[in-house]
């Protein structure tokens, strides 16, 4: 029971981090691209930040569901979902949308590495939880079989 809550709590913290890193902790570039005609555009990293905010919210929701649901099968499904959300949080800044071109810009220096670290931890936690829940199912089955034999 305690373990379930702790895992859920950690996932909620990771979700909050994914959502807050691009806006608060390591903010993406705030400048806008200035066109020759004087108009301004958002940089690529702005859209990455918005997407990460959504993914972070979903990870938080996933954490809440992991605290609420007790069945191992449901928790495995939620952990697979967590792994996929972590993968999305990793691919959005590195491959799908990306960050600004220059390696020394704020989004490349702080936001991108922080998101990579947090998303890798999220994915690892997802895989770890799948393994842990599968083991729980196996040991429950062994106990059931033993009680039937008795």
């Amino acid at each position: 029971m305690k373990n379930k809550s702790i895992t859920g709590m950690i996932i909620i913290v990771l979700g909050v981090l994914v959502a807050l890193i691009p806006k608060v902790i390591f903010p993406v570039c705030t400048n806008r691209i200035e066109l020759m005609n004087g108009k301004t555009l958002f940089m690529k990293c702005h859209w990455t930040a918005m997407t990460e905010l959504m993914i972070g919210t979903l990870i938080v929701f996933n954490g809440i569901l992991l605290i609420v649901f007790k069945k191992h099968e449901t928790r495995i499904a939620l952990s697979i979902m967590l792994f996929l959300l972590g993968l999305a949080a990793l691919l959005i800044p590195t491959a799908v949308i990306g960050m600004c071109e220059t390696a020394t810009m704020a989004c490349r220096v702080g936001t991108e590495p922080a998101l990579i670290v947090v998303s890798v931890i999220t994915m690892a936690l997802g895989i770890g939880n799948i393994y842990f829940q599968s083991n729980c199912i196996k040991s429950e089955q062994i106990w059931k079989e033993r009680s039937v034999i008795k």
Binding site: N31, I33, E34, L35, M36, G38, E101, T102, A103, T104, M105, R108, V109, G110, P113, A114, I116, V117, V120
Partner: protein, 401 residues
Amino acid sequence: MGKQRLTTFALAVKNLRKRSFRTKSLIVVVAVFSFVMFCGGLLTQSLSLGKNYMSGRMGADIMIVPRGCALSLQNTLLRSESNTFYLNENLAEEISVMPGVEQASPQLYIGSLNAACCTVPVQLIGFDPETDFTIKSWMKNIDSSKLGFGEVVTGSRVNATLGGQVWFFGQPLKVVAKLNDTGMGFDSSVFMTLETAQYMIKASQEAAVHPAGNGKDHISALFVRLSGAEDAAEAAKLIISKYPQTDVVVLKEMMLHISTQLHNIKDLAYGIQGLLWIVSVLVLAVVFTVSANERKREFGLLLALGATRKKLEGLLIAEILIICILGAICGVIAASFIMYEFRMLIAVSLGLPYMQPSIGSAIILAAVSLLLSVFTGVISCLYSVIRIGRAETQIMIREYE
């Protein structure tokens, strides 16, 4: 279930698995220790490497810039800051004939814009290939004297493909080479001939929303090599008194300032590492002593069943070795991942030459962290091992009765 030989290692693994919370907690303590050891080691090694690389290649003894721009030049060289400033061009000729001056080469700095006119906001550096003696020492892939009009060499952090084009102030420039990592501001710079750079100033006035200066003066800094490097401070004083509109950056003083900062960072890193080592030894020693004390009956029964005292000592050492190796591996992997991902943030935040060591050096550092963690574990369990080795079997079994 198949039969399993009860070796010291197998018994130690079983013991650790049974007390999983204690095992995990101790692994975390060792992991934190090896994480700090590895991070501290990598940080100080990267800073030393960056400083040595920079001082060995700069070539110039003094750098002359317009009055009030000394900090801008240092920030351009160290922090990748983009700056635009101009010096009176005639100065180059006058300085080069001064007594004690062996070589003088002008450079022109233009900060590109974060706007549609420019591919990326970087520092454009124009240099004279005929007189240059600083930039060419970084260029291994190309002969800098063959750099033509409209051709550029980009720093390692500039996102440009070899043979492709980069745009600055509405003008396309051909990328003919890329520099290797320099660990300093050159990594985010684009190098071109003075002619191309002066053309860029003109183009900036026509195409850009914010022109890069007035373009009347055509050099930003003068890099000077003296016949006697020890006279640099005297030469700087002489130049400032003769040309009060200038500032002089003496390389020796700049490197001395960097060395002082490096020493401070090293002292801090060693202090933290030392403190954490003491804490780790104490925590591991206390936990192991308490645990060994609680397990006296277990050890007593093992002795009664025929286990030798050496076997018991080996069991305790095997347990701590497993914990230390697992913790050190976790700590080193986490530290390598974080230090690699945040290398740019560290370099930019410190504002010092920063160059990460090669994979070979990093592996050696990881091995040292691992050995140190194992050593820490072994000395923290020594007391428990000695106590168990000396205790009487009967007393051990009956102590809690």
